[in-house]
């Protein structure tokens, strides 16, 4: 009887168990949930940025008359206007735009590496992983230059109450404006940079494992895909960091 057979079989729908309802292995799900939690970490930092910035006065004068002062939050174009090799030239946000482009390019090469993994093409995976590592490292190098420029400061510096001049910024003093501007800049871009750095370490491990042929023997490159998820996430976070620190 047909009813008996249905009574004897467990149900087999998408969510009825015995399968992977989201069509994702447990490892990939874990990466997604980790990224979700990391979103909250960054979310907390960016909220902090927003709240602290809100506590400070905004600059109300014209852009031409802008000078650095602790009385108001600085205009980012006036702070980040340097470019390596172009000393003294005002190039607002040019360098950070380049950095951002490099990071987005690294995301593109990552996609290509994952795609090559789907084709089980070892050589292509190696090639695109290497490009991703290269672009990622370039981004970090750019950030290092950006930081060092920020720390060294402008030529004029800031006049201190005791008559001396202070150049650049650290965690307790800042020639560009309120000290928290520098605190948040170092903290949030530093935290993001740490993520990029971890990503590069993971990518190097992936590269070595690929060269050794481990994934080829395993028959799939899912590990590269998982690290790819992380890498795209880190890029996406940069888009938000970039928006908050440089554009808004």
């Amino acid at each position: 009887m047909s009813t008996t057979t249905t009574l004897e079989q467990p149900k087999t729908g998408t969510w009825d168990g015995g399968n992977e309802p989201m069509k994702a292995s447990y490892g990939k799900l874990m990466m997604w949930f980790f990224l979700l939690s990391d979103t909250f970490t960054f979310g907390a930092f960016l909220t902090t940025y927003g709240l602290i910035r809100h506590r400070h006065n905004a600059y109300t004068g014209t852009a031409e008359d802008f000078t650095f002062s602790t009385a108001y939050w600085p205009i980012p174009e006036k702070v980040f206007n340097a470019f390596p090799g172009f000393h003294g030239v005002d190039l607002p946000l040019a360098f950070v735009a380049l950095m951002t482009m490099i990071l987005i390019l690294s995301s593109v090469t990552m996609v290509l590496a994952v795609e090559a993994g789907h084709r089980i093409d070892k050589n292509d995976v190696q090639k695109w992983l290497l490009w991703t590592i290269l672009f990622g490292s370039t981004f970090l190098a750019c950030q290092a230059w950006e930081w060092s420029h920020f720390i060294t400061g402008s030529d004029q510096g800031m006049l201190m109450p005791d008559g001396t001049r202070f150049f650049g910024a650290n965690l307790a003093q800042n020639e560009y404006g309120p000290v928290l501007f520098a605190d948040l800049f170092f903290f949030i871009t530093g935290f993001h940079g740490t993520h990029v750095f971890s990503g590069i370490v993971l990518l190097i491990i992936m590269f070595i494992t690929t060269v050794n042929g481990t994934f080829q023997r395993r028959g799939h490159y899912e590990m590269v895909e998982k690290i790819g998820l992380y890498w795209h996430f880190v890029d996406l976070v940069w888009v938000f960091v970039f928006t908050f620190f440089y554009l808004v």
Binding site: L7, G17, L29, F33, T41, A44, L171
Partner: protein, 608 residues
Amino acid sequence: MASTDISLHKDVHHDHDAHDEHDHHDQHFIFKYIFSQDHKVIAKQFLITGIIWAFIGGALSSIFRLQLGWPQATMEWLEPVLGKWIEGGKLSPDFYLGLVTMHGTIMVFFVLTAGLSGTFSNFLIPLQIGARDMASGFLNMLSYWFFFLSSIVLFFSMFLETGPASAGWTIYPPLSALPQAMPGSGAGMTMWIVAMALFIVSQLLGGINYITTIINLRTKGMSMTKLPLTIWAFLLTAILGVLSFPVLLSAVLLLIFDRSFGTSFYLSEIYVAGEALANVGGSPILFQHLFWFLGHPEVYIVILPGFGIVSEIIATNARKPIFGYRAMIGSLLGISLLSFVVWAHHMFVSGMNPFLGSVFMFLTLIIAVPSAVKVFNWIATLWRGNIVFTVPMLFSIGFVSLFISGGLTGIILGNSALDIQVHNTYFVVAHFHLVMGSSAFFGMFAGVYHWYPKMFGRMMDEKLGYVHFWLTFIGVYMVFMPMHYVGIAGFPRRYYSWTSFDLFSSFANINMYISLAAIIAWLAQFIFLFNFVYSMFRGRKATANPWRSNTLEWTTPVNPGHGNWPGPIPAVYRWPYDYSKPGAEDDFIPQNVPFSQTQSSNLPHDKE
């Protein structure tokens, strides 16, 4: 067929056991019991660590209750234990603050988060959904060892010369951000932060494991609406943890920078000992927002596992289906969702905009709705049930009682106007100790008594269990009911001494009474400890399904080995609450019995 199947499994199991000892001779003790990747062993590790912490946490509270209950007494007799924290026969006020802080931190995080959901999520998720183990045994093991490391750091912070962290378990800056502010804000605070960072890593590793296991590893037929309510509760607990703990991590990272690297995220315009600090522009309120964004979901992380455990035990022992299964899931979802949008009700007096206060008050009071749904469902499940008063059942009923008593005062505290009167008084202390502290403990006790036979293959002693229950139940009410009165009178929490306020001298007796009850209730827990350890070796041998329960863990052998089921994993055909189904032979039908074998009791919709 399935029933023969079960007995068949048993036979296989005996074979398997003998076989096991042969086969795993090479599995070293260290990998079998210490660095184990078996979810059952990890669960026991969490449980035993949690129990040790609970006794330490209880001991700390007994010491500060001595101070509150007998402020004139000399405490020289504690000198051999506390050493120089007893100054001239008196408890040092700095150490008192450290005691309060450590009591809160230990109980909330180390006992009722790691000890409770660490134990039962690990133990029950694979067993009840029909999986051989967690998705990743290795991450699961790491989760325990990060917790262990964190425990070590926090434990040693209590032996620092300057004392442990003392700014309260909420570690509000500037007190916690300025090492020079008080002795406990020095090295003790640093170690507290390190311990918490490790703890958060442990929680994340555990949490993502629990979630993915529940999504991907359910056995055939185990749909989301056939899951036992325990699993729903653990799933949502894990989601809350994964989403809220990272925010605490953010908060303490910023705090580390303020403490050690001279930033001003939480600091602005401060004088310490008449000297102005350079910090400007930050906001201590910011920390409160970040902290309570974790802190409020955290109290649900503590209580949700209790909800699940209690629902399961009440249905089993009332021999009735849980009343409103879907409403139970819905209310769990509702509570979880709301837990993220009510955090500022902890900050009504922080100077935030009163309009914002009323928004948070509105959202907070909505939580009463799903909570009431749960309470009424438990009561309706008990209603005209065929109740078996086992020890876990008593603790579950006790849980419902405490949850109601504590929940009612939550409505008062959630009201932003009323909160101004009772904020930071013992009224708050009484409220949360009943509604989340003691309740969660009762959930934990219920769970330990109920699943002990599955954990250790033996039953805990019932008579000792009854004594333990009644002493604890009465003790808890004797401690926290009078505390409400003290709180309404304005008695502030965390104060070392109240004798200089004439207003409060009439409360001397009531404080002594509370202290006495607290210490007796703490001592009663040693009955549990004895029972727990003794039964492991001498307890009555358990049968495969001692509570005649429906869920899958009872289809495993009495002592399940690695992989849980010696044969194939059972498939699931029905929900877990087919108790006393009309027309059925027994008053319970396990989840793995197909409908074809229960023709006499099938309902029209079962045949679809």
